[in-house]
Structure formats: C-alpha cells, structure tokens
Amino acid sequence: MKNALNVNDCKDMIRFVADKIIESKPYLTEVDSAIGDGDHGIGMAGGMQKAKEKIDAMDPTEDAYRVFDTAGKAMLMSMGGASGVIFGSMYIAGAKNSPPKSELDAADIAKMFQKSLAAIKERGHASVGDKTMVDALEPAAIAMSEHSEEGLLEMLKAAEQAAHDGMESTKDMLAKYGRAKSLMERAIGFQDPGATSVWIIIRSMREFVEN
C-alpha cells in the first residue's frame, strides 16, 4: 500500500484507471443509452486510450503533475463532445499552476481534485443537483479534503463512497444540461453517465493504491 505516488506511480495509476474505463465501455454505453446518445462509453474509452499512449510517449520528467497534464491534454484534444472538455479539464486543471513535485501525497491529490472541481464548475456552469458529473465529483473532492490526513487509501475510500452516493443521487434528478435535459421528468430513475465515469475513476484510483 502506498502513501505517496511518485512519477511512475502516477503513470501506472492513470494507465490502471484508463484500463478500467475501457473495460467499462459496455456498461457506460448502457447507462448513456437510457438518457443520452449512447456514446459516452465510446468517447471515454477512446480518450483514455489516447491518454495511455501520450503517457507512454512522455519525455522523462521529475514532476508528477506533468503526468496528469499530459493525460488530460490527450483527452481534451481527441475526444470531442462535452465529456472531452470536462474530463480532459479534470486532469489538466488539477495539475495547473502546481509547483513541480516528484511525489504526491494525499493532501496533494485532494488539492488537485478541489482545483479540478472549481475549473469544471466554471467552464460547464453546472452545480450539484443538475444531474451531471459534478454530482459525483464535488462530494468526492470534499471527502478528500476532509480525509486527507488519514492517508492516501483511507482518503480514496471516503472519496469513492462519496462519488458512489453522488452518482446514485443523480437518479432522482431532472437534468439541466445535455441531451437528457429535454427528457424532463422522463430522465428520473436513470443515473448520469458522467457521474458514473467519475465513480469508476475514483474507485479505480482506490483499487490501484490498495493493491
């Protein structure tokens, strides 16, 4: 079990997360087909594949934040659709303006997610309750800040639970953005695909750190 992530750990973690998203492509497709275009899984899997390729091709670096920035830019510049900008920004904004660091501890990761959340809310204008990925990301980021002193694994466990609860909460919501918006009350009962991806990403981070 790790208490901090060096550059190689960060690379391996992002690869691990990417593989889990790619594995979940059929599930994400199913979730998105209920209230969206059905292309969220295809988009996320494609973006994560590009992120892996760009990480493999990275110049050597001592800065762990650069790994997240590289992965995010790969997603942003390849995926398209709303999720390309939002999930690309999640990695990019988390790393933005952080002084280089060779190892990231729980507090650093918590800070990254706070910055990601702020950037995504500013760009997408979504808040908790709008049936978007913010419904999973915001509680997860808050849980990280609250539990960062308990170490990496305990922090990620709390974040995973918060993201899961957030994802579940989207089932009861009307959508304020995207295609599900025009479904009005017909979107009730279905979870948001973006929130589902957030949960998978944080769950996979926990699994990586645990094993």
């Binding site: 275009d37 295809i42 390849s78 709303a82 390309g84 900008v85 939002i86 995207g178 918006k181 009005m184």
Partner: protein, 334 residues
Amino acid sequence: MKKIINKPENIIPELVEGFVSANSRYFEKVLGVNGILYKGRRKDKVTLVIGGGSGHEPIYSGFIGRGLGDASVAGNIFASPDPGAISETAKAAHAGHGILFVYGNYAGDNLNFDMAEEILQDDGVKAAHVRINDDCVSAPVERINDRRGIAGGVLMVRLAGAACDLGLSLEDTKKQVEHVADNLRTIGIAVSPGQLPGLDKPTFELGDDEIEFGMGLHGEPGIKRDKMRPADELVDVMFSHIVKDMPLKAGEEVCVLVNGLGATTMLELSIAYRRVKQLLDKAGVLVYDADVNSYATSQSMGGFSISILKLDEQIKKLYDNPCFCPFYAKEGKA
C-alpha cells in the same frame, strides 16, 4: 439495420477521406485532424468556419464553398469535434481578418468551440461565434439561449457566408449573422427513428402509428407525441408553433426551407411545402424564395422540418448573394 461501413472505429476518418476525395475539385483535408478546407476561399475577408458532430451530412462538412463556409470541422457521430481539431482547422483557413464560427447550440459544441476560441486568442487570432438556435419549440422564449440548432443552420451558414463576403469587420459580420438568427425559426417532426452506424439500437422508439412534434435532430424528445395524421394537418400544427413564436404580418416577406431528415422523400416534402405555401398565402405573407431538400439529416430518421426566415432589406441583401458548394448552389438575385 444494415449500414455500409467497415470497422466502426474508422467511420469518421473514412467518411472524411471519401468526402474530400469525391469533391477534391473544391475540398482539401487539413493535415492531422478531421477538418476540410474550401480550396477557393477568399483571402480578403473574415474566415467562416462551421462544424459539429458528423452524421448530418451534407451539413456541416459539405457546406463549404463560394459564399458559404471556408472550412468545416467534423466531430464523431453526433458529438462535437475537439478544440484541437477546431483550432487547427481555423488556423489553416485563416486569412488574417479573424474567424467567425457558426455552429449549433449544444452543450458539447459550446464547450469545445469556446475552448478553440481561447486557443486561437492565445495565438493572437481574433475569433467570434454565432450559435444556431432556430428550433423554436426546444425551449420557451424566456430561455431562448437554450434552444437547439437544427435545419435553419443551412440558412445561417449561407447568410453568414454572405455577410463574410461583404468584407465587413469580424464584429460587424457577427452582428449581421445574429440579426439573421433573430429572424429565423424552425420546427421539426419525427415519424420514425434513425439508426446510427456502429450502434445496435435506433436513436429512439416511436410506434408505427405515432409521430412526435418538435423532436430534435438527434432524437431529442419534442413537445408532443401524437397519432399519425394527413400531411396538411401535421403542417398546420407545425406552422402554428412558428407563428406563435415569430408572428408574421400580411405583406411581410419570408424564405422557406422544408428539410427532410433522411428517410422522408422529396415527394412527401413537396406535399408538405404545398401546405406551408397555402398557409402563408392565406396570411398574406409573401414567399421570396423556397427550398425543398434534405440538407440537415439524421441518418435514416424519418420526418422533416419547416424553417421560416423573415426578411428585411439587410437580410434580403445577404440572401441575394450567390453561393455554391457541391450540395447547395443558389444563383442569388437573377
């Protein structure tokens, strides 16, 4: 449903390759991204760049040419292109007088085109945008900025192309195009779902005897599901929604576009237009020009839309500008 494709993951690159090579007299591809340039683009004006998700051909990819877009960017099926593809295409087309982006008002397009504008601005290229939001039943007038862009995009691209041709500044060009948007309304109707290549399920479900008023170009739910009825009755309902949102007075002039969504034939579209003309005649509204065709499609979706553009001297001047691309050619004023 059978689709003429190879591997699903190659649909977009193969579409762009085929599209460009079939029209290589006019089109060339932007290196490295799914962008297309009009070879004969003028260098002395604002550059018009259009784009959006693929699957609606010939709009937007094909609407580049004389008096139309200078370049287009193709996203994945029904998904916006990424900011890299948009900004690279815009830079390849740019002639030094700024970029005007015209695209449909959807969450994904707005996010990606906004980001592309930021990239261009960082590189010292002036860029602005006008979003197409002609679908007048997709949101009430209080939330007009939430309205989706559908077939009226054809007229928006044409008149934006004309505004650019006038040689105005980027700011003035944008104002002209916004004025067009203020005078354009569309409503659609779906009679059967489309089938996206590479996916198993149709885009939505609709009973054999059912139709849906106001359904969007990607199968977004509309305002009312109803039983199928004769063409004239469908048109009467659609027309009433347009004039409720944009009243038309006797003596005013309009242009009309009846656009098929993919599976609806010219025969049916012509019958629908005939009724639109009757209603306009009855209201004393004059038809300056009309067009019946399938430009903004949704794969094999059945149905059509009616777009009405209200004219004033300014818009008429833009409309009279000649334009040509392999899919859309107008002489302008004879």
